[in-house]
């Protein structure tokens, strides 16, 4: 362990020194967590700054991580398109279908990779049937949030196209739930137990939202020292807040499941019929009584005789 660390430090030193002992490199860290439960934007910003500091610290002063928190998906997309984000800490749903390499994933206080997906409705809504033909809110996170939530929170039991009149995006979970509270929409998809869901009726739940992943958007282009600094910082205890209790290396199961949910048609549309299994094993073999021609010989006693015994 110790030798590995030593090797990492040496490699970091060589890398940093290689450009001719220039000044410390700046690394851009984007933070987009629209479904995390931050109490305010200030808290969200403070989280991002702390995370950047921790990464810088992990780099031993050789790298300077600068944080930028995004509140809207569109803003992030434009930054990414401009190549201005070296490291992205984002909601898992955002990353579904995108390029880049996931370095780590978050876990909550229970060790889960994130909360379940849920459908919350206004208290007067009886059940899902009451929402047929209605407009719903959904946090604008990934490419097809409505499909994800229908497949996750409702297990694909309604059609993505015809059941709701519209699934309207909101900038984050808080905003989506806020629309319900403001009676703008009768229901909204959001993470289960989101603080903003208080007072609303839980209609359905399922799947698991990958609460946060840390991504190298350019994939292999991200240098090893940066990756090391990022992972060392996160796995060393940084990046906690907004419901995130820690980090683990790798993609995590919730991300893969979320990807499937977002990319599949709802169950009611894709379910295949079942067929009656083949019955060859049940087919009885041919049976017929073959008739023999032989006759039994006439019964005879042959040489039968009894041997008398002499009782004592």
């Amino acid at each position: 362990m110790r030798s590995r660390r030593l090797l990492a430090v040496v490699l970091l030193a060589l890398t940093l020194l290689a450009p001719g002992l220039a000044a410390a490199q700046t690394v851009s860290v984007g933070v987009y967590l629209p479904q995390a439960s931050f109490a305010s934007n200030t808290e969200r910003s403070a989280y991002a700054d702390a995370l950047a500091r921790a990464m810088s610290q992990a780099a031993g002063g050789q790298l300077t991580f600068e944080a930028r928190a995004f509140a809207k998906r569109a803003d992030l997309l434009s930054f990414l398109a401009a190549g201005k984000v070296d490291v992205l800490v984002t909601d898992g749903l955002f990353q579904v279908g995108r390029t880049g390499v996931i370095l780590a994933h978050a876990v909550d206080g229970r060790g889960e990779e994130g909360p379940l997906a849920a459908l919350y409705a206004a208290p007067d809504v009886a059940n899902l049937m009451s929402l047929r033909g209605k407009v719903l809110s959904v946090p604008e996170v990934g490419a097809d949030n409505a499909r994800y939530f229908i497949n996750a929170a409702l297990a694909g039991e309604v059609s993505g196209q015809g059941f709701f009149a519209e699934v309207r995006p909101a900038k984050d979970a808080e905003a989506a739930l806020g629309a319900v509270k403001a009676q703008v929409t009768p229901a909204a998809f959001a993470p289960l137990d989101h603080p903003a869901a208080a007072g609303l009726r839980l209609v359905g739940q399922g799947g698991r939202i990958p609460l946060a992943v840390v991504v190298a958007p350019q994939g292999a282009a991200l240098s090893a020292p940066i990756k090391d600094a990022v992972t060392q910082a996160l796995l060393g205890g940084a990046g906690k807040g907004g419901g995130i209790a820690g980090w683990r290396a790798g993609t995590g199961k919730a991300f893969a499941a979320a990807a499937r949910a977002m990319q599949s048609a709802p169950l009611v549309e894709r379910a295949r019929p079942i067929v009656v299994p083949a019955s060859a094993a049940d087919v009885k073999p041919p049976r017929a009584r073959l008739e023999a021609t032989g006759q039994l010989p006439r019964p005879s006693v042959g040489q039968a005789a009894i041997v008398p015994t002499l009782p004592e």
């Binding site: 049937m129 067929v275 073959l290 021609t293 019964p299 006693v301 040489q303 041997v307 002499l310």
Partner: protein
């Protein structure tokens, strides 16, 4: 003067007178005087006897003195006067002056030794004077004379004391004869008879004696003993009981009464009496032995053993104790111990009981040679004892020395015609000899021997059975019927072997029900005629078409008689029929096993049946391992080969092809199956089922390859071969997959109500889901969830989810 003094003086005077007598009378007297004096003396003696009988001894003594005086006066003048000498001798006898009598008579006897009177008198004096042996010699010479009964009596008592029963008996008999009024002598006579084992006469004599002396204890005991010894046990028992009642527990009476009870077989009472006896004489070994023997008879073996051992302690090396212990051990099934004890007994005593018993044990132990030696030894002691000859016959039987055995039994039967064991042995040997004669093919000798056995014992079952079998083998059914006799008659044999023979007779006459009843009874009772019983059982089962049972019976019969061609052939045919039965029932394993047995029989199947068995076996092999290449290839080769060529084999051949098709289907080669079926002209429902299953299989393959049209085509052909809702259902699935949801929905909707496969519910639910008819879909999922089909759990989960999300409750509203 006191009377005593007077008597003394008188005696002294008489003595003086007597001593002076000869001197005074030295002068011979005339004849008349002598006659007178003789008369005086004789009268005085008669008077003295009478007085003695009355108990007046004093007066009697005076008379004796008077007689003596008279005789002495004669003798003083004539010392050789015989009458006077004899008179004086009698007087001295009465006066018990025996030495003087001897002194008087010895000289006279010496001078005339043949004189019976002197001999008699001298004998009497010597007897009384303590020389009975000398006296007896003298008295024996004169005792024949009826007048000399006193000599007879003395001799009778003398010999009685000497236990000279033979010597004394003539004297007492003569005495009783000459003195019939002396009834008391009968007591002595009775005792003599008892001692000489003339028990009946003893009882008569003692009965007569007891009339005059009814309380005489010795006579009563002797009478009871005589009754016992003459086997008049009831009277003896009563007599002993009376004596015990009067005399209390006298040991000898207890012992004797116990002996009576033993003889009467009332061992329980005997043991009680012997217990009372043993309280008085605890160490009396014989009583202990008898008690032990009684306990043995009563089956109280542990007590008997204890008592025998106690008896042995009191009488070491008593062979009868070991004999008893041997019997106990034998009764307990400990043959070795029984032998050890018997050998110990035989080492101490060579009585026939012990040696005979040892011989019997040795035979039981499988040592008939030694047994024979011991029985010979016993017979040496008592050659006329019939039971020992029976034992010897059994030894020889065990040694297979049948002729000698027969002779031994003949001898026993001659000695005791009522001894049934002898007759039984005799007929047993004759029957065995007849069986041996039959085995050598000498049926005439066999028949003769059996007839002789039956002449001696008409009910002897083995002889009747063997005679009936002999007649049956000769084809003489009626004679066989006569030999065995009808069932139910008292004189007809009813054992298992006879019933087996009767079953065969019924079978041959076509009377199957009684044959069945008889053979079941015979088998249950363990008949020796196993082969015959199995043959009958096999034929009866075959008659009912129960080939499994028939085959089993014939197989066993064939195993018992490997050289019997008929038995082998019956076994082969029954195995073939069984195999074909099992094949038709679809029991491949059972069919194959039976057919292989049929094929392996040495004697047996005709060519066509053999081919049939081979075909059946090949088919069974295919059925047992569907799709397996080896059996399939063999059957295919046979179906297409020469063995089944020609119109005569058409149906069998087509069955073989159908079987090939079935196997190919099970192997997954649906196309191969359809090709094989093409060789079956009219395969019936089975061929149709195979065709349908083959197309069904091909349809599934196409469906899996998403070749929807091809799947529809095969499933349609399957439905044509064997219409099936499953095929309609699957066609609908292929249609849905190919975008024809409406048609699929119509099919499934119909099937949900007309008994189609449950999968229709599930698939219709999917369509309803797509249509947004969630409640209807929920309801259909729920119904499918209860179908028990493989996907039921999936449907249940979906129905539950819909309930949670949509709040569906059964019976409420629609979508």
């Amino acid at each position: 003067m006191t009377p005593r003094l007077a008597a003394r003086l008188l005696a002294a005077a008489m003595a003086v007178a007597l001593s002076l007598g000869p001197a005074l009378g030295a002068q011979d007297l005339d004849k008349r005087e002598k006659q007178r004096l003789l008369q005086v003396g004789d009268d005085a003696l008669d008077s003295a006897r009478t007085l003695t009988a009355r108990g007046d001894t004093k007066a009697a003594k005076q008379r004796v003195a008077e007689a003596e005086k008279a005789y002495r006066r004669i003798l003083a003048g004539e010392p050789g006067n015989k009458q006077a000498n004899l008179g004086l001798s009698r007087a001295l006898l009465i006066d018990k002056r025996f030495q003087e009598g001897v002194d008087l008579l010895e000289p006279l006897h010496a001078k005339a030794p043949d004189d019976p009177d002197y001999t008699h008198q001298l004998g009497l004096h010597q007897f009384q004077n303590g020389r009975p042996q000398d006296a007896a010699k003298l008295l024996e010479r004169v005792a024949d004379d009826p007048k000399r009964f006193d000599a007879m009596w003395l001799l009778a008592t003398y010999h009685f004391q000497q236990s000279g029963w033979f010597e004394g008996l003539p004297h007492i008999e003569r005495y009783v004869k000459v003195r019939p009024d002396d009834k008391k002598a009968l007591g002595l006579l009775g005792t003599y008879y008892l001692k000489l084992d003339r028990f009946q006469e003893a009882v008569v004599a003692l009965d007569a004696f007891l009339v005059v002396e009814p309380k005489n204890l010795a006579a009563r005991i002797n009478r009871a003993n005589a009754l016992f010894r003459s086997s008049r046990l009831v009277e003896a028992g009563r007599a002993y009981e009376e004596l015990l009642g009067e005399e209390g527990d006298r040991p000898r009476l207890l012992y004797n009464l116990a002996s009576v009870r033993i003889k009467q077989g009332r061992c329980d009472q005997a043991v009680a009496l012997l217990d009372r006896f043993l309280k008085l004489q605890p160490d009396y070994a014989t009583a202990l032995y008898f008690k032990a023997d009684c306990q043995l008879q009563l089956g109280r073996l542990a007590e008997a053993r204890q008592t025998f051992e106690l008896a042995g302690t009191g009488a070491a090396n008593n062979p009868w104790v070991y004999y008893g212990l041997s019997q106990i051990a034998f009764r307990e099934g400990q043959l070795d111990e029984a032998l050890t004890q018997a050998e110990r007994a035989a080492g101490l005593d060579d009585s026939f009981e012990i040696t005979g018993w040892l011989g019997t044990l040795l035979r039981r132990a499988g040592r008939p040679n030694e047994a024979l030696a011991w029985h010979d030894k016993a017979l040496h002691k008592t050659p006329e004892r019939a039971p020992l000859h029976v034992e010897r016959g059994r030894d020889l039987w065990a040694l297979q020395r049948l002729q000698e055995s027969l002779a031994a039994f003949e001898r026993a039967a001659t000695l005791d015609p009522a001894l049934t064991d002898a007759t039984l042995g005799l007929v047993t040997v004759k029957t065995a000899q007849a069986a041996a004669a039959r085995a050598t093919g000498d049926d005439a000798a066999a028949r003769r021997g059996l007839q002789e056995a039956l002449d001696r014992m008409p009910t002897y079952e083995p002889a009747r059975v063997n005679l009936a079998l002999l007649e049956l083998a000769a084809g003489q059914v009626e004679a066989a019927e006569r030999a065995i006799g009808p069932s139910g008659r008292e004189d007809a044999p009813s054992g298992p072997d006879a019933r087996a023979v009767r079953a065969m007779l019924h079978l041959l006459a076509g009377r199957h029900e009684p044959a069945q009843a008889e053979i079941e009874a015979a088998t249950a009772a363990g008949t020796q005629l196993q082969g015959l019983a199995l043959t009958v059982t096999g034929h009866l089962a075959a008659h009912k078409g129960e080939w499994a049972r028939a085959s089993e019976a014939f197989d066993e019969a064939a195993a018992l008689a490997p050289g019997d061609a008929a038995a082998q052939r019956s076994a082969a045919i029954a195995a073939l029929e069984l195999g074909l039965d099992r094949l038709a029932a679809g029991d491949a394993g059972g069919a194959r096993a039976a057919l292989e047995r049929a094929l392996s029989a040495k004697e047996g199947l005709e060519a066509r049946d053999r081919t049939l068995a081979q075909l059946g076996s090949a088919m069974a092999a295919v059925l047992a391992a569907p799709g397996s290449e080896g059996p399939l290839g063999a059957l295919r080769q046979m179906a297409e080969g020469r063995a089944l060529a020609g119109p005569a084999w058409a149906s069998a051949r087509e069955l073989a092809h159908a079987c090939v098709a079935w196997s190919l289907l099970r192997k997954g080669d649906a196309n191969g199956a359809l090709k094989a079926l093409a060789k079956v002209r009219d395969g019936g429902p089975t061929a149709a089922a195979i065709t349908a299953a083959a197309h069904e299989q091909l349809g599934h393959a196409a469906y899996a390859a998403k070749a929807w049209a091809k799947a529809i085509q095969h499933w349609t052909q399957a439905a044509q071969a064997a219409p099936s809702p499953a095929m309609d259902h699957n066609i609908a699935a292929a249609r849905l997959a190919s975008g024809q949801a409406g048609e699929a929905a119509r099919t499934w909707l119909r099937q949900t109500s007309d008994g189609g496969p449950p999968e229709a519910l599930y698939n219709l639910a999917l369509i309803r889901d797509r249509e947004g008819a969630y409640r209807e879909a929920w309801d259909l999922f729920r119904r499918y969830a209860t179908s028990g089909r493989p996907d039921a759990q999936r449907a249940r989960e979906r129905a539950e989810r819909k309930e949670r999300l949509f709040g569906f409750v059964a019976g409420q509203g629609v979508n």
